[in-house]
């Protein structure tokens, strides 16, 4: 059984569970166990980790950023090195590792949830949550328009370059934001107006409800998985809140 075969509501429960763990767990050892479980689950359910290759690069850059921030700003533990105003404390590295593990769990869980379901499944899930279809159908619209809008922005940048706009260094890119962004914004507003008109002419929003070619049904294993995950979330939250009362 692949991850994509599960009901989107089961994936949502998994996502909430992982976010819950990443936020409430404080030790690197426990976070490592959660991350290993997450990677194993991904490997078992999808059969490959190839799709997460790009994520490793992102997480590496992010990890570097967290490490630099902790080395500069952490003031916990004992002072182990000082060079001018730069002071490095003993807790900087453990805190950076904890931060990187938390970030990894969140990013991996997000990619699991949002890349394993089709836009139609998300729409159907929102319909099941009693969201009106006029709003639920916007998921499909955003997925359809994302690559189109990216292509449009690149074509605007190319047009401006052809007119002599320099886009080589970070400073050039900064100066190039306005000449590329404003035409992009105005074209997008015009596109939104045209798309809305086309959708209304095809009957969008004419009736309060509509039918779909497929529907979502919770299977026994979905119910078992959702119940199990909700139980774990409730127990972990209760164990955190009860000592405070």
């Amino acid at each position: 059984m692949g991850f994509s075969k599960l009901d989107p509501r089961t994936k949502l429960a998994w996502y909430v569970l992982m976010i819950n763990f990443s936020l409430i767990i404080g030790t690197a050892a426990q976070l490592s166990i959660v991350l290993i479980v997450e990677v194993m689950a991904s490997l078992i359910l999808t059969g490959s980790l190839k799709r997460y290759k790009a994520m490793i690069v992102i997480l590496f850059l992010l990890g570097l950023q967290i490490l630099v921030v902790q080395l500069i700003f952490c003031r916990e533990g004992v002072l182990i090195y000082q060079w001018g105003i730069l002071k490095i404390y003993s807790q900087a590295l453990p805190l950076a590792i904890t931060g990187i593990l938390k970030a990894s769990i969140i990013v991996l869980a997000s990619m699991h949830f949002f890349t394993s379901s089709s836009p139609q499944e998300f729409t159907l899930m929102l319909i099941k949550f009693k969201v009106p279809y006029r709003f639920a159908m916007l998921v499909g619209l955003s997925v359809r328009f994302l690559p189109l809008m990216k292509a449009e922005y690149i074509s605007i940048i190319d047009s401006q370059r052809a007119r002599g706009l320099k886009m080589e260094s970070a400073w050039d890119n900064l100066k190039g934001i306005f000449p590329t962004f404003l035409p992009f914004l105005y074209r997008s507003v015009r596109r939104a107006t045209e798309t809305a008109l086309a959708m209304e002419l095809r009957g969008y929003g004419r009736t309060k409800t509509r039918t779909f070619t497929s529907s979502l049904e919770l299977r026994t294993y979905d119910v078992v998985l959702i119940s199990g995950m909700l139980m774990v979330i409730i127990i972990s939250l209760t164990s955190r809140i009860l000592p405070l009362i």
Binding site: I19, L23, M55, I58, L59, L61, L62, Q65, I66, V69, Q70, I72, F73, C74, R75, E76, L95, A96, T98, G99, K102, A103, S104, I106, V107, S110, M111, F113, F114, T115, R134, F135, L138, L141, S142, F145, L146, M149, K150, Y153, A170, N173, L174, I177, F181, F184, L185, Y186, S188, V189, R190, R191, A192, T193, T195, A196, M199, E200, Y204, G205
Partner: protein, 176 residues
């Protein structure tokens, strides 16, 4: 229904998604520039976020502001753009609602009105990001507060001026 706060026609709903995608693309562009120029402060990124949050509310009201914010946060999470994506969800929604509530009470014809509305948005949004900085990055709360305060200050001034200018030109162009 209060027309200054709500608008649920198709143009507003579709516009929210499309401008939400524009917001996402511009956030990624400014994020990359920030990563080179000011990796820990994200001043440009913060200004861009505040500008779009305000502009979408002015153009399409609510729930368009919330929808655009959710689109931006969800794609940020799905692409692994930032581990704070989960907190962006709250920042975008709360920031947008705050902007609506403030702009609904003002005529939004003066620059000061835009600055006030932007101040509310930037403070509430950056507060959510600050929680993310503390819980995910394990930053000391004083450092997180300093970082968020700087982003709020720059975002309020920069995005306030930009929103007035761009919204004014959009109104003149009759595109809305």
């Amino acid at each position: 229904m209060n027309e200054k706060l709500f608008r649920t026609d198709t143009k507003a709903l579709v516009g929210s998604v499309i401008i939400g995608i524009v917001m996402l693309i511009m956030m990624q562009v400014t994020g990359r520039i920030d990563a080179i120029l000011d990796p820990t402060l994200l001043l440009l990124n913060g200004t861009c976020w505040a500008f779009f949050t305000g502009l979408i509310v002015l153009m399409y009201r609510q729930p368009a502001g919330i929808i655009a914010g959710v689109v931006e946060a969800v794609v940020a999470m799905a692409t692994g753009y930032s581990p704070l994506g989960f907190f962006f969800l709250f920042a975008n929604v709360i920031g947008s609602i705050v902007y609506s509530l403030i702009s609904g009470r003002l005529s939004m014809e003066k620059l000061s009105h835009h600055i006030w509305a932007m101040l509310g948005t930037a403070v509430s949004g950056n507060l959510c990001v600050m929680v993310g900085l503390i819980y995910v990055f394990h930053l000391d709360w004083k450092i997180a507060l300093l970082s968020s305060s700087l982003t709020t200050f720059v975002g309020t001034i920069g995005a306030g001026i930009l929103t007035k200018s761009v919204y004014g030109s959009l109104q003149k162009s009759a595109l809305l």
